[in-house]
């Protein structure tokens, strides 16, 4: 496989070469995952389709981060910076989606108030 890929060759010291091979492998794994995701999209997974696709995306993202961006080799400060940004993204999304998802229903009423008996017919107007 190695000669097929530009940038990977057999010269150089062992560990350097291993690293280049690792990168190439990561690239292939990414393509394979993308293929998997693509294939799965033809199955009728209904409600599961999105979570599964996102999980695969997460796996791909970890590959890019870990292998290409050398995330784990960076200084702690760098990792913290990236992590903070991610956390903020999740916060923004969570609270905003929670708003849309929980609107127009007061779920926090005590049950005895929520469970009202049918109204008197003259509810509309005072006698």
């Amino acid at each position: 496989m190695a000669p097929l890929l530009p940038g990977v060759d057999d010269s150089g010291s062992g560990s350097e070469q291993a690293h280049a091979r690792k990168l190439a492998l990561a690239g292939l794994a990414l393509l394979a995952l993308a293929g998997l995701s693509f294939g799965l999209s033809y199955l009728r997974l209904a409600a599961w389709a999105l979570p599964i696709a996102l999980l695969i995306a997460l796996a791909k993202a970890s590959l890019v981060l870990g292998c290409f961006m050398e995330f784990w080799r960076e200084a702690v400060s760098v990792r913290l910076a990236a992590l903070t940004a991610l956390v903020m993204l999740l916060l923004l999304a969570t609270f905003t989606i929670a708003d849309v998802a929980t609107r127009e229903r007061p779920p926090l009423l005590p049950p005895e108030q929520a469970a009202l008996t049918p109204l008197t017919p003259t509810g509309a107007l005072p006698p």
Binding site: R103, E104, Q113, L116, P121, G123, A124
Partner: protein, 341 residues
């Protein structure tokens, strides 16, 4: 005491029980604010005078004990959380569906308030309601965001285009209350005001009878024809039979079980939401197939249909309710979308 504090704080007369409760919390929180900031200032003055020195001397290195810091933080946070708990409970009351409510539809547009009553009549900028009956507003906007503000009720709710929002106000004391628009909505924002008149029951009845002489068909009747015209009966019935959708008979005021397991009270607000945003709350056992009527069903007709559905539970006992006659504005020409696919 309450009256004194209320005047001291420049608060307008409170119209409802809830407004008074909110004022009580107000006094506690602002009282703490005043005392707290004065205490901090006093402490600072005292320390500055006490330790002021003309010669700069070395000072001892001091460090706070962590346990004390935590205790202090805990004390402050519990005070704040207490305020939140009380405040949240009161806040929820603005959103609780009230049994027996007198429901008014509010349409906001630049720069006026339009009110549609249960009997179908409409007024602009002046809202007249009976005393001692909980008041519920179902509101929407025709253009930008406005905010319906009743200082006397300590109540406010943004009014949004394309959505129905509700505001439960509780039963009010008789009197006149100022209505303002509190969300900036353009050049005449400051002039978008109105008045809420709460009348004792007898006077209200008189007001009802005095108004609208030239109305010729009951709101319920109008609701029935509107339903037919908009094709509701393709899926709904008024005689108790289940069709594509649930029957309307006996629906109003009942408790509806939704597909996600929660229960809601079928009040005017719920019914309106069902028409305008049917996908939001799906009745258990039905498919989410009902189209939205947002934009195609004008406000007065929606109100009429709700009144019609409301009438369907007493139809068995009390045919032909003697509701005052109504006049409904012509179908909204400004509706942006047709319902036909």
């Amino acid at each position: 005491m309450y009256e004194l504090l209320r005047r001291l704080f420049f608060l307008p007369r409170a119209a409802t029980e809830l407004a008074r409760a909110i004022d009580a919390l107000h006094f506690v929180v602002i009282g703490t604010t005043l005392l707290g900031s004065l205490a901090i200032a006093a402490a600072a003055i005292w320390l500055i005078t006490r330790y002021r020195s003309d010669v700069v001397r070395p000072t001892p290195h001091q460090s706070a004990r962590a346990s004390r810091e935590w205790l202090l933080a805990l004390a402050v946070v519990s005070a704040f959380l207490a305020a939140w708990v009380v405040g949240y409970k009161q806040f929820l009351r603005f959103h609780e569906p009230a049994p027996n409510a007198f429901t008014v539809y509010v349409t906001a547009k630049q720069w006026m308030w339009k009110f549609t009553y249960p009997d179908g009549r409409s007024t602009t900028d002046i809202l007249t309601v009976p005393e001692d009956q909980p008041l519920e507003l179902v509101m929407t906007s025709r253009d930008v965001i406005h905010s319906f503000y009743l200082p006397g009720f300590r109540a406010k709710q943004d009014v949004l285009p394309g959505r129905y929002v509700t505001l439960s106000l509780g039963a009010a004391r008789a009197g006149n209350y100022r209505i303002s628009c509190a969300e900036y909505c353009g050049i005449s924002h400051y002039a978008m005001s109105g008045e809420l008149r709460v009348l004792p029951a007898r006077e209200f009845q008189a007001w009802l009878e005095a108004g609208s002489p030239d109305q010729n068909s009951s709101l319920v009747e109008l609701g029935r024809t509107a339903s037919a015209r908009h094709g509701c009966f393709a899926c709904h019935t008024d005689d108790g039979q289940t069709h594509v959708g649930p029957t309307w008979s006996g629906l109003f005021g009942s408790e509806v079980l939704l597909a996600d397991g929660t229960r809601v009270l079928a009040d005017a607000a719920y019914l309106t939401r069902s028409m305008m945003d049917p996908q939001a709350e799906i009745v258990a056992g039905f498919q989410p197939v009902m189209p939205t009527y947002l934009g195609s069903l004008p406000q007065p007709e929606a109100a009429a249909i709700v009144e019609y559905i409301r009438s369907l539970r007493r139809a068995e006992r009390e045919p032909n309710p003697t509701l005052p006659t109504v006049q409904v504005a012509p179908p909204d020409a400004g509706a942006t979308r047709s319902s036909a696919p």
